[in-house]
């Protein structure tokens, strides 16, 4: 095992541990913080995979944006300090069993298929991404790129309409 492998397993353990904490924490604020660490862990996984751009996007959008928004909404709904009602034990067990079964099934599938790595190097320089994004040809992403702006516009308008409905 070389150092990079060790680091992968450390990161994986970190991600899973934090994710588990995130779904089991009693206080929702703490839950959000654990989610945050999960996301940071995933970002570092991307760094480990050397897809730096996605890693940075992950941090910018998820950590800097979505989690902040979630934290704000937690504050806004005054639930931050109260313990969340703990689910019934039966429900917990059922959920755990279902999840574990699903995990086993998928794990089996993954093992069955046994994806093999290609040795070709993966070039994900930002310039390559950018060129592809602006390319109007058939393998370019210009149209989705513009569509994203419309999606964002719609999301913004929708969210503003919904959020401001009550305050009128």
């Amino acid at each position: 095992m070389d150092i990079s492998t060790i680091i992968f397993y450390l990161i994986a353990a970190f991600i899973l541990g934090m994710a588990l904490l995130a779904v089991t924490a009693k206080q929702i604020f703490r839950s959000a913080i654990w989610l945050l660490f999960t996301l940071i862990g995933i970002a570092s996984l991307y760094f480990w995979m050397e897809v730096e751009f996605i890693a940075a996007v992950q941090i910018v959008v998820y950590v800097g944006g979505i989690v902040v928004l979630i934290i704000f909404s937690i504050f806004l709904t005054q639930q931050s300090a109260a313990d969340m009602p703990s689910p019934k034990l039966g429900r917990k067990i059922a959920a755990a069993v279902a999840s574990l079964l699903g995990l086993a099934l998928c794990g089996l599938l993954v093992y069955e298929y046994g994806f093999s790595k290609t040795e070709a190097t993966f070039d994900n320089e930002v310039s390559r991404i950018g060129t592809a994004m602006l390319n109007t040809g058939s393998d370019g992403y210009a149209l989705p790129f513009e569509a994203v702006s419309i999606l964002l516009l719609a999301a913004m308008v929708g969210a503003i309409v919904i959020a401001m409905k009550e305050s009128e």
Binding site: D2, I3, Q27, F29, R30, I33, L36, I40, E52, F53, A55, A56, V57, I59, V60, V63, G64, G65, V67, V68, I71, F72, F75, S80, E125, V126, S127
Partner: protein
């Protein structure tokens, strides 16, 4: 030309020749860690002292001058005092998050050092998304503040945290956009490329008016992002006592304090890199003679000189301006800075595409 490149190179090769690569890597990392911690200590001591001196000089007074030569040991005394002061954890706080927040803030301000180029060839990691990395990691510091504010179980802390939440997220946009103007001009996110592109002159001068506008916006946004006056609403003394770190004491408080100053350094270093050419000496077009003379000044001096100049400007702001109110602060961003920087980036695109810059 004096350069640190050779030194780092020599160390690098020597290590790899004499050691197992993993070990060599480890040793290098250890070096980095120690160096950055040393840099932290240095920045903490120097910037605090500088702040005090700048403020006192603007305020007709002398500033610390009694402890050590010209008062230079003042910050040492403060540091030692803070270390040996009780770092208390009040009763009703969320102990885990309360203690984690300052560490998180410190981690953020340390990780963000990675792509900064301190001198020619002296950089921890020339990451290929350099600028994006900086703006991504800096958005993490808000989490530490929100965490501290919430965990403190104190109304002032929470109010302060809220304020800085709204503030930092807002100003991130115009900071990012003004950084992008330089990316448009350079065509790369790498710090080294950006600096190299300024060999014939700094972007501030080469980039015409849009670069100057971007620079001004960047400085404003940087001041806001580091919670400095006139945007220090998060710790507005006269309103919220000490804001989000009201409940922090001793070393925990000192870590926030340190992180604040390191963040100032970082944003100013980024500003210096993007707009003032980082370690690149002052070059003018093709005046070979002049450029050669400029090259004699070592690159770290250029870098730190520029950075400290920007830090001085930010301190100058602090000791001149009153604080904005929260709604004015957000208005400034959303009504003025953001639209202006969006148009500015279009303008700079036109300039870049038309090749009007030098």
């Amino acid at each position: 030309m004096f350069s640190l490149e050779n030194i780092t190179q020599i160390v690098h090769t020597w290590l790899y020749e004499n050691m197992h690569p993993t070990l060599a890597l480890m040793v290098e990392f250890a070096f980095i860690g120690v160096l950055v911690i040393a840099l932290f200590a240095f920045l903490g001591l120097v910037l605090v002292m500088m702040e005090r001196k700048v403020s006192s000089w603007m305020q007709l007074r002398l500033g610390p001058n009694r402890i050590g030569p010209w008062g230079w040991f003042q910050t040492v005394a403060d540091t030692v005092k803070l270390i040996v002061k009780e770092g208390m954890t009040p009763n009703n706080v969320d102990k885990l998050l309360f203690n984690m927040a300052p560490i998180l803030v410190i981690i953020v301000s340390m990780v963000i050092m990675a792509p900064i180029m301190f001198a020619k060839g002296f950089q921890i990691w020339d990451i290929n998304i350099g600028v994006l990395f900086v703006s991504a990691v800096s958005s993490l510091s808000i989490i530490g503040i929100l965490m501290a504010g919430w965990a403190s179980n104190n109304k002032y802390s929470l109010l302060g945290a809220m304020r800085s939440g709204a503030q930092i997220v807002s100003y991130e946009l115009s900071a990012g956009l003004s950084m992008l103007t330089i990316v448009v001009l350079t065509g790369s996110l790498k710090m080294s490329d950006i600096i190299q592109a300024q060999e014939t002159g700094w972007w501030l001068f080469k980039g015409h008016i849009p670069a100057i506008i971007a620079f001004v916006i960047f400085i404003i946004a940087a001041t806001a992002e580091t919670n400095r006056a006139p945007f220090d609403l998060a710790e507005a003394e006269s309103e919220l006592t000490a804001g989000f770190h009201t409940e922090y004491s001793g070393m925990k408080f000192a870590l926030f304090f340190l992180a604040e100053y390191v963040n100032i350094f970082v944003v100013c270093a980024i500003g210096a890199t993007l707009f003032l050419g980082g370690w690149m000496p002052f070059h003018v077009g093709n005046w070979e003679q002049f450029n050669n003379i400029m090259d004699y000044i070592p690159t770290p001096i250029w870098f730190f000189g520029k950075t400290f100049f920007l830090i001085f400007v930010i301190m100058w702001f602090r000791w001149t301006f009153p604080r904005l109110r929260i709604d004015q602060l957000l208005n400034l961003e959303w009504k003025y800075l953001l639209p202006i920087s969006i148009f500015n980036i279009l303008l700079v695109t036109v300039i870049a595409l038309a090749g009007w810059h030098f």
